[in-house]
C-alpha cells in the first residue's frame, strides 16, 4: 500500500518536556485519517512538525515514499500539504477570490492581477468539490461555515494533495458540520487525503477510515475505525474507561431563582441583540440554552451578570431585582458565573493560580484585613480548591497561564461553585476541553443541581445541551423560541429551531410555552 505521507518515529523535545515521543502516522492516499488526543497530547506539535514550523529531534518524514526535509511551511506547500486552520486567516473586507489568491496572485501583462481568471478557476474548484462558494462575495458577508470552505479552497487552489483540518467543527452549527463531512468525503473521492485533528469521537466514527491516537506525547497506535467503537477510542485517548452518558436522576425543580422579563440588550453598536426575552430558571434544574453563536446569548449573560447594562426589562435573582446592578453586587446577590471566554474574563493569566481563586473574594475576611492581604489564607484556600477540583498544577504559585485549558477551567469552576451561589451560569463550560475534563465538569454541574441550585447552561454543542439539561430553551434572534424536554426532542429538530424555523415546521412532539 502506498502512503502519501509517513511520519516515522517522530520525537520533538522542548526544554524540559518531550512533546512528541516516537509517534508514527502513516496516511494512505484517499483516506480520512483522524489524529485523536486530549488537549496538550501533542497533536498540534506533530502537525507543526509536518508543516515545517518545528524540526523533529528524531524520526523522519516521507512524502510518497521519499524522505523529505521540511524546514519551513513553504516547502510543505510545495509538497502539496495544506492546512485548514482552526482560526481562519482571512482578510475580512476582501472578497473570497482576493483572499484565496493572496500571496500567489496570477499576474497579467504589466504585472496587473488577473482577477477574472482567478475567479473562474476558483469557481471550477468550488464546483468540483461541491463547496458552493461565491468567489465574488466579501468575507465579512458570509457565514462562518462558508469562511471555512474558503480556507479549504485556499489550500486546494495552491495545489494541496493532503489537507490537514485542525479541529474544524468547533465553530460550526450541526447543519454546517454535516455539510463539512460531505465535503470531506467528496475531497477523498477526488483523490485527496485528509488528516483530521479532533477530540470528537462522533466525527471520527462518521467519516474517518483510520485513527491514530496520541496520549501525553506518546503514539498509542493506529486503529481501523470500522473495527472500533467510541468507547474504545475514548479509553485509548484518556488511558482509562470513560463514561459518556452523563448519569443523573430526574430533576426536581422548586422555586424560581432566575426570572427574566421582556429583556432588551444592545451590543456596542447600539443594536438590539436580545429582543424581549423571557426566561425562568428554577432551583434544582439545569436549563440549557441552545442556539447558534451570535443570537444574543453573550449579551443575555452579560446583562444578567452586570457586565452590560440592559436597555429595558427586568431581571430578578430570587426575590431581588438585579437589573443593571454592578458585577460585584450581582455576585453578592448569589451568582456564580463560569464565563464563556476563560482567558478574557475568567482568569488573570499572569496571576498565580492561587491568587485567581479569590478573584471575587479577596477583599473579604479572612483573605484580607483592613485592605492588607493575608497570603497564607489565600493560598490555603487555593490549595484546598486545587485538591478538591483536581486542578493539575505544579503548585498554587504557578501562573494561571501555564496551566492547560482543562485545568484552568476546573479552577474557575471550583472558585465559582465554592461560593455556593443560588444561580450558576455556565457559558460554554467545556469548549475546547477533552472528554476527561468534560465528564468532570458535567458531573459538577449536575451535583450543583442536586444540591438545589439553579443552573443556566449556554452551549453551542448540542450533545452537551441534550446530555446535561433538564429543560432546553432554544434561542434565536434574541428570543427564546421554544422550550423543550431533552427526552422529547432530537438534534434534527433542535438544529432547525436554532436556524429559525418555527416548532410547527420542525416537528410536533414538542410543547411550546
Amino acid at each position: 500500500m502506498e502512503y502519501v505521507i509517513e511520519m516515522l518515529n517522530i520525537r520533538k523535545e522542548f526544554p524540559g518536556i518531550v512533546a512528541n515521543d516516537n509517534i508514527t502516522v502513516q496516511l494512505k492516499k484517499g483516506e480520512i485519517h483522524a489524529l485523536l488526543g486530549e488537549n496538550g497530547a501533542g497533536k498540534s506539535t506533530l502537525m507543526n512538525v509536518l508543516f515545517g514550523l518545528y524540526q523533529p529531534e528524531a524520526g523522519e518524514i516521507r512524502v510518497k515514499g521519499e524522505k523529505v526535509n521540511i524546514t519551513n511551511p513553504n516547502i510543505a506547500n510545495e509538497l502539496g500539504i495544506g492546512m485548514v486552520h482552526q482560526h481562519f486567516m482571512l482578510v475580512e473586507p476582501f472578497t473570497v477570490t482576493q483572499n484565496i489568491i493572496l500571496g500567489s496572485e496570477p499576474k497579467g501583462i504589466f504585472g496587473s492581477i488577473n482577477i477574472k481568471k482567478a475567479e473562474k478557476e476558483i469557481q471550477e474548484i468550488s464546483d468540483r468539490y461541491g463547496l458552493k462558494v461565491d468567489p465574488s462575495a466579501k468575507i465579512s458577508d458570509i457565514s462562518v461555515g462558508m469562511q471555512q470552505r474558503v480556507e479549504i479552497l485556499k489550500t486546494l487552489y495552491r495545489g494541496a494533495e493532503v489537507l490537514i483540518f485542525d479541529e474544524p467543527t468547533a465553530v460550526l452549527t450541526p447543519q454546517e458540520i454535516h455539510e463539512l463531512m460531505d465535503i470531506m468525503k467528496s475531497l477523498v473521492k477526488e483523490g485527496k487525503s485528509i488528516i483530521l485533528i479532533t477530540h470528537k469521537l462522533k466525527e471520527i466514527m462518521e467519516v474517518c477510515d483510520r485513527c491514530t491516537v496520541i496520549r501525553k506525547g506518546q503514539g498509542i497506535g493506529t486503529v481501523e475505525v470500522k473495527d472500533s467503537n467510541p468507547d474504545e477510542l475514548a479509553s485509548l485517548m484518556v488511558g482509562r474507561e470513560v463514561n459518556f452518558k452523563t448519569e443523573k436522576k430526574p430533576s426536581n425543580p422548586k422555586d424560581i431563582v432566575l426570572h427574566i422579563e421582556n429583556l432588551f440588550v444592545q451590543d456596542v453598536r447600539k443594536v438590539d441583540l436580545v429582543k424581549g426575552l423571557n426566561l425562568d430558571v428554577r432551583a434544582g434544574e439545569i436549563v440549557g440554552i441552545a442556539g447558534v453563536d451570535g443570537n444574543g446569548q453573550s449579551e443575555l449573560i452579560e446583562a444578567i451578570t452586570g457586565l452590560t447594562k440592559s436597555r429595558s426589562g427586568k431581571i430578578k435573582l430570587k426575590e431581588k431585582d438585579i437589573t443593571n446592578l454592578s458585577p460585584r453586587n450581582v455576585t453578592k446577590s448569589g451568582l456564580g458565573h463560569i464565563p464563556q471566554d476563560r482567558h478574557k474574563y475568567g482568569l488573570v493569566l499572569d496571576y498565580p493560580i492561587g491568587a485567581n481563586m479569590v478573584l471575587q473574594t479577596y477583599y473579604k475576611k479572612p483573605y484580607s484585613k483592613v485592605s492588607v492581604l493575608n497570603y497564607n489564607e489565600i493560598y490555603d484556600k487555593a490549595k484546598e480548591l486545587i485538591k478538591e477540583y483536581d486542578v493539575r498544577t505544579p503548585s498554587e504559585f504557578t501562573p494561571a497561564r501555564a496551566l492547560s485549558g482543562g485545568n484552568q477551567q476546573k479552577a474557575i469552576i471550583g472558585r465559582e461553585i465554592d461560593r455556593s451561589p443560588d444561580l450558576l451560569i455556565a457559558a460554554q463550560p467545556t469548549r475546547g476541553l477533552d472528554v476527561g475534563a468534560i465528564e468532570f465538569i458535567h458531573r459538577k454541574l449536575i451535583e450543583e443541581r442536586d444540591k438545589g441550585r439553579a443552573v443556566l447552561l449556554v452551549s453551542f454543542e448540542l450533545d452537551e445541551i441534550m446530555n446535561v439539561s433538564d429543560r432546553i430553551a432554544v434561542m434565536f434572534d434574541g428570543k427564546i423560541v421554544a422550550n423543550l424536554k431533552p427526552e422529547e426532542t432530537d438534534e434534527q429538530e433542535l438544529g432547525l429551531l436554532m436556524a429559525g424555523s418555527t416548532t410547527n415546521e420542525a416537528g410536533d412532539s414538542s410543547e411550546v410555552k
Binding site: 451578570t305 457586565l307 460585584r328 496571576y351 477583599y363 492581604l373
Partner: protein
C-alpha cells in the same frame, strides 16, 4: 509540569541577568566609542568613577542626584504595574516642585508642621497632575500617553508664569524657602564636605517601601495589578476598573510630585523659570525599565543612573565629553528594551554548553 517549573526559574534568572548584561554591554560599547574617538577608555572610566565616588563631597552629590530619580522611577513603575504609561512624570515633577516651594515660601509655621505640609503639597500637586489624565482615560478612553505629554507642557508654562508673576515680580527665581520647610541637613552636609545632600533620600527609600507594600501586600495592589493584566477579568470579578485607573495615575503622579519636592525643598530651596524640561521624569522611564518596574530594582537602577550622571561631570578631565554617558545610558536602555536579543543569546549559549 517539569516544563512549567523550568520556565519559571528561567524567567527569574533572565529577569536579573538581562539588566546586568545590558549594563555591561553599555559600558563595553562606551569603551569602544572612546577608543574610536581617540580617548583612553580606562582613563575615561576612572574619571567617571572619581566623579561619583572621589570623596565625601562627590558621594554626597551622587546621592543627591539619585534621590529624585528613585521617585520618578517609582512613579513610572507604579503606573506600569496597572498597565498605564505615565509619560507625564516630567510635568508632575515640575508642578510638585512649584507647590512645595510655594508652601515653603508663604506658610509660617514650626518645622514639624511646615515641612510635612510642604512635602504633602508637592505630592498632592503631582497627584492632581496625574488625576486629570487618569480621569480622561477612565471615563472617556482618551489615551494617557497623549494627555500626559500635553500636561507636561501645561506644567512647564504654568510653573514659569507663576514664578514670574505670582511668586516674584518678573524675576526668574524665587527667594529661598523658609528654613522650617527645608529638607537640608547640616549634619549630612557636614558629613559630606558641604555637598547638597539632604534628608530627601530617606523619603525616596521610604516611598520605595510604600510602593512595595501597596503593590504586593494590599487589596489595592491586587486590584491595580489585576486591572493592568486583564481589564475584562477585573470587571468580571467586580472591581471598579475606572476607579483603579484613576487611583493608579494619582499615586504615580504623587511619587513624581515628591521627586519635585526633593529638588524644591532639598537641592535648590527655590523654584526658577526653566526654559526646558528637567528630564527627571523622562529619566524615570529609563530607571523603571531597567528596574523591571520593581521597587527594589528601581532603587538599584536609580543608583546606577545617578552615579553615571554625576560621574559624567568629571569625564572632561580625561578629555572625554560628558555626552558619552548619555550614549552609554542610551545603549543600556537599548539592550534592556530589546532584551529578546540577550535572552536568545543566553539560550543559545546554554544549548551549546550542554
Amino acid at each position: 509540569m517539569r516544563q512549567v517549573i523550568q520556565v519559571k526559574s528561567n524567567n527569574r534568572l533572565f529577569g536579573i541577568l538581562v539588566p546586568i548584561i545590558s549594563v555591561l554591554l553599555g559600558l563595553i560599547v562606551g569603551a569602544i566609542i572612546m577608543l574610536i574617538s581617540g580617548h583612553n577608555p580606562i582613563e575615561g572610566y576612572i574619571a567617571l568613577w572619581n566623579g561619583a565616588f572621589y570623596d565625601e563631597f562627590t558621594i554626597g552629590e551622587t546621592i543627591r542626584r539619585i534621590t529624585p530619580l528613585i521617585l520618578t522611577g517609582l512613579a513610572i513603575a507604579f503606573a506600569f504595574r496597572s498597565g498605564l504609561f505615565n509619560i507625564g512624570a516630567e510635568g508632575q515633577v515640575i508642578i510638585g516642585w512649584l507647590a512645595a516651594v510655594w508652601v515653603g515660601l508663604i506658610v509660617d509655621a514650626p518645622m514639624i508642621i511646615h515641612l510635612p505640609l510642604a512635602v504633602l503639597a508637592g505630592a498632592l500637586a503631582g497627584g492632581l497632575w496625574g488625576f486629570v489624565p487618569g480621569l480622561l482615560k477612565a471615563k472617556l478612553g482618551v489615551h494617557e500617553v497623549i494627555v500626559t505629554i500635553m500636561m507636561n507642557y501645561i506644567a512647564l508654562y504654568v510653573s514659569n508664569e507663576i514664578v514670574r508673576s505670582v511668586l516674584t515680580d518678573h524675576d526668574t527665581s524665587t527667594e529661598k524657602i523658609a528654613a522650617t520647610a527645608s529638607l537640608g541637613s547640616e549634619w549630612l552636609q557636614a558629613l559630606t564636605f558641604y555637598s547638597r545632600m539632604h534628608y530627601g533620600i530617606l523619603i525616596a527609600l521610604f516611598a520605595a517601601l510604600i510602593m512595595w507594600f501597596i503593590i504586593d501586600r494590599t487589596t489595592i495592589g491586587y486590584e491595580l495589578k489585576a486591572v493592568g493584566f486583564n481589564r475584562h477579568a477585573s470587571k468580571y470579578a467586580g472591581m471598579n476598573v475606572s476607579k483603579n485607573i484613576i487611583l493608579s495615575m494619582v499615586i504615580s503622579g504623587a511619587f513624581a510630585g515628591l521627586a519635585g519636592v526633593m529638588e524644591g525643598l532639598g537641592t535648590y530651596g527655590n523654584v526658577s523659570v526653566i526654559s526646558g524640561f528637567t528630564n527627571l521624569g523622562f529619566d524615570g522611564i529609563a530607571v523603571a525599565l531597567l528596574g523591571a518596574n520593581n521597587p527594589l530594582g528601581v532603587v538599584l537602577a536609580a543608583i546606577l543612573f545617578g552615579v553615571l550622571k554625576e560621574g559624567a561631570g568629571e569625564m572632561p578631565s580625561a578629555g572625554v565629553p560628558t555626552e558619552l554617558v548619555d550614549i552609554i545610558i542610551a545603549i543600556i536602555i537599548f539592550f534592556v528594551a530589546s532584551s529578546y536579543i540577550i535572552r536568545w543569546a543566553l539560550t543559545r549559549f546554554k544549548k551549546e554548553g550542554k
